[in-house]
Symmetry: C2
Subunit: 615 residues, 2 copies
């Protein structure tokens, strides 16, 4: 077992990620922002997720040997849901293996649609040197070649020297209509940007080549603000206590952003000063905190944000060390807690042009729900809490090495899938859903969420499962997944309650948006699951616990990965996309769930798990 | 004799200046930027310069008693060319006493033309407080009331608190489309700007009320950079030696600008933070130095400036302490040494709409010459040198207390007019021209500029004048104006050569511009004399020494005062005027005199004084 990070590069997008030995290709693709379709639920039976391994060793599993021909296997074809990363690998992903909705997200598709028009432009020019017959000023000389621009005093102070040192041959760097540098020689090939998804729990970032649109590196880390509280309200409270606290939170996220930029630039061997723009999408509170905006007003009714439109700021003011005159685009907000991450997701999912009633759910520390129907977009945010990201679950953890990421209930017992194939140390969100669905289905947990004591368990329950139910140290009931060196790994009664709260909040939100639009769940044509966590849940299990409405045919449910990050990426690559984001934020209807008189009722109802389905 | 500064306020413009006891009202008006017409040359005979003293004591002189009726005198009517300031005075200046061309310059005329549209706007708003039914963000709430705007992060960080502290009732301050502040309560009445003329030798500034357009205070001081050289080339050389030197020059002018702002605000009891914008017009070198731009390239052929268009900068970056987010507008340049002061002058003089061939001459340390003819504007700069501002003349000085400002040759001798009516300590530019004209007319100086030795003086020359000519200490000839406590006050042979150089450069420039336009001097319909010095020279004397072409009827020569300052003032009051300035700078044709093959010839010829005129 190696703990080495292995690089996997996906063609033709050029995206690459670093993953642990043994990671499923499906997961590696997901981490790279590519969502491969798995209509059979990842069982290796439908063959829709085929990819071709171009370089690197990936032995075919028995399932693959059954599903693919010898010729196909010899040519490197594998099933993404089966094959595991064992070395540095380059993989070809055919369009047919991607979700249709995913197509929109791809940067190369954006380019193909003629949308690759980043705000940052580079233009190599060879200017004529000044002479008596041609004694235009330095700025006018440059404008003659690259068109009109504005410039800051700091650049105006340097431009004369820059032009003369480079012999009047160099590369003008422009963001929109502002000249930010003049670099000696032709540097048009070196033009980069970084897109960020600023989650309450997790930060994800990706380095983009703004010339071709390809992705050069991806990285993520915990949001270090979690040490000040794991949900937005506790951070608002901390920041509101004093200006120093606000500055503390701002600085801590600024450092993390800066660290991610450094990590990405190292991965791809890109100099930081060649990064000219960053785009940041986060929920309202995260965006306010990273801009250093006062959040006290977000802590009290009517939860009024400082800004709604997107902000275009000097990156230096957010303490992000890129090019000294680089900029930061901070996404527009819809209102209240429905923030820039939701807008970015809407942009990536193309909700502005949805055909048929479309629901998008981003399950993170907060749950954001967006419903597009007949040209009207409704958006709401629920305080789902960080249960799905591992917090508030006694043995919860993020989907990293050692996390149980999958629980399969077989005829007599359970099997665990552990990330990195090591001894399990905790449970991540997707396994939590698997587990809850299985416990409901086997009758170990009642629809009210009660973990039955051993003497009340269903009569037909097998001995192996039965033995896993016991009273824990604290007296509350628990279900043991495994005995480990660090003691038993178990799900407690309290954990189930946390899950009910998180799932119920989202489900209630969905109900209210549907009702406002005059729709029922069965009318939904598309349900798009976004978010790092969302991409790995089993749809039928999510429906079993009531997180997703059971009335929707599971083929209408698709995963669109980290849509917020995809939207941020798009905003870096296309000024048109940025305009669309502003438009989406302005026109979307903000539904304040907490103010809906029926929300509490809906919430209470949604907390009850659905009845056991008829088999 | 009091050395106290007395305030004189001119109605209806509201401008006021502080002058010394005994200053002629004509001069006080000139210092306030008002040019009163004096077709008779200030002799008190034509009665065109009448003004009415509304408050303050001004005894009528015998000349006034002769020229005005008893009723008029009793009503306070006086002649501006005769009456002197003896106390705090308020004076009414009828339009009929002003030069027609001056009308254009007046701020109130600008207002009357509907041009009072400053870039700075204030808008008092009473916003509805956020509620559940109205939970727009802070910025959108404000934009709903005052229209769309941009804002810097520093303001976005404060806006939530500003709105809440003021109970959502306050005054939005906008520069163009940028919100720079939100002040509690209604502060729309407090909105100020400062206009600057940044001369090589003298700085002049005026504080404007941007609401009504009136002028509240005027101040001037030496350009402290003179300690690094009295002309632009020596400052360019100093600044080019090291970045520290450039910074030294920048800082020294920045401090002076800041000092003037303080002085003006004190005079008018205006808080500095209510000054939101400054406008600065100076020659190319001065503007570059105050912006901290590299001037090395201005020191060598082909004299390429860094910028040509006007710059709109944060005032804080020029170290001018006004409102913390206030701005500085730096005038556009025409090219080479034809700078923003010339553009401002062209703006104020309305050269874009001149009827008939019009020549504008701004005589300062450099001499700028502009010729408007049939829609084409040609502009040139000559290195006149600072002779007219008192430098390089052995006893030269600026037009301040103790300066001989007028020399009258009577039948037998000379009479001196001294500023402040004290013992003379030096000679200022206007007296230099009087003196040279008189010396030429009496034959004491030859047309070649030679100060004749006593034995060569004309036979008919009176004894008093003859006795003033002698060999000075250094052996060169000199003409003594007065014996003073500090020794003799004299004009030397060398001083006459300096005057020849300065005057010849301007005259040669005029000739070349006229020739390029296919005109002769007699074709000129208007000759506008601008500049602090220009306003006080006697037109016939300037023609006598060849500084102004003798072919022009002297009634076509008029004074327009400090047109550069007037243009800067106008740019503060009107964004349309600012656009016109940009247009004038872009379309004016820059004539590089030094590159004209005939300039040296013209210069050599212009150095020779004109022949004695036929009487």
């Amino acid at each position: 077992m190696s703990t080495q990070q292995l690089r996997v590069t996906f063609q033709p997008s050029g995206r690459s990620v670093f993953v642990l030995y043994g990671t499923k290709m499906l997961e590696a693709a997901g981490r790279a922002g590519l969502t491969i379709q798995t209509p059979c639920g990842g069982g290796g039976t439908c063959g829709k997720c085929r990819v071709r391994v171009v370089s690197g060793a990936c032995d075919a599993t028995p399932t693959e040997q059954q599903g693919l021909s010898a010729d196909e296997l010899a040519a490197g074809w594998r099933l993404a849901c089966q094959t595991r990363v064992c070395s540095q690998t380059v993989v070809d992903v055919p369009d047919s293996s991607l979700f249709a909705s995913q197509q929109r997200i791809l940067t190369d598709s954006a380019a193909a649609r003629g949308e690759l028009r980043p705000a940052v432009r580079k233009r190599y020019v060879e200017l004529s040197e000044p002479s008596l017959a041609d004694c235009d000023s330095d700025l006018e000389r440059l404008q003659g070649a690259v068109g009109p621009f504005k410039a800051d005093l700091s650049l105006i102070r340097r431009v004369g020297r820059l032009l003369r040192r480079s012999g009047f041959k160099g590369t003008a760097v422009l963001t929109d209509n502002t000249l930010i540098d003049f670099e000696p020689g032709d540097t048009t090939g070196a033009c980069y940007g970084v897109a960020f998804d600023i989650g309450t729990t997790t930060l994800a970032a990706t380095l983009l080549d703004l010339c071709g649109g390809s992705e050069l590196a991806v990285a993520s880390r915990m949001n270090p603000q979690v040490s000040f509280g794991d949900d937005v309200l506790s951070r608002i409270q901390h920041a509101s206590n004093s200006p120093e606290n606000l500055e503390q939170l701002r600085e801590c996220i600024a450092n993390a952003i800066d660290g991610l930029i450094e990590e990405l630039c190292l991965q791809a061997s890109v100099p930081r000063q060649s990064v000219y723009e960053i785009a940041l999408a986060g929920n309202t509170t995260m965006q306010h905190l990273l801009c250093g905006l006062d959040v006290a007003q977000l802590g009290a009714v009517p939860f009024v944000p400082v800004h709604q439109r997107g902000l275009l700021l000097p990156a230096a003011e957010l303490a992000a060390a890129i090019h000294h005159s680089g900029r930061a685009y901070v996404f527009p907000l819809i209102g209240g807690f429905v923030g820039g991450d939701t807008v970015a997701g809407m942009l990536a999912a193309g909700l502005g042009e949805a055909d048929g009633p479309t629901l998008m759910i981003d399950i993170g520390t907060n749950g954001e729900i967006v419903l597009a129907h007949e040209g009207t977009i409704r958006a709401a945010s629920t305080a789902a809490g960080p249960a799905f990201e591992g917090a508030r679950i006694s043995r919860g953890m993020r989907a990293t090495r050692g996390a149980v990421e999958k629980v399969v209930f077989n005829e007599t017992d359970i099997e665990l899938g552990v990330i990195g194939n090591v001894e399990p140390i905790g449970i991540c969100g997707s396994a939590l859903v698997d587990l809850a669905a299985g416990l409901l289905e086997t009758g170990i947990v009642s629809t009210s969420g009660r973990l039955l004591p051993p003497d009340e368990l269903p009569a037909g329950l097998g001995e192996s499962l039965r033995s896993r139910v016991r009273a824990g140290d604290s007296g509350q009931g628990e279900f043991v997944l495994a005995e480990t060196g660090g003691g038993p790994l178990a799900l407690t009664q309290r954990d189930i309650r946390e899950l009910q709260l998180a799932s119920g909040a989202i489900r209630a939100g969905i109900s209210i948006l549907l009702r406002e639009a005059g729709l029922s769940a069965g009318d939904l044509q598309h349900v798009l699951i976004a978010g790092g966590f969302g991409s790995f849940i089993r749809r039928d299990h999510a429906q079993r616990i009531g997180l997703l409405p059971g009335e929707v045919d599971h083929r209408r449910i698709s995963y669109i990965g980290n849509a917020s990050l995809a939207g941020a990426r798009w905003a870096l690559l296309s000024t048109d996309a940025r305009k669309r984001a502003e438009q989406l934020a302005r026109t979307a209807k903000h539904v304040q769930l907490s103010e809906d008189p029926e929300f509490q009722m809906e919430f209470a109802e949604a907390m009850i798990f659905p009845e056991r389905r008829r088999q």
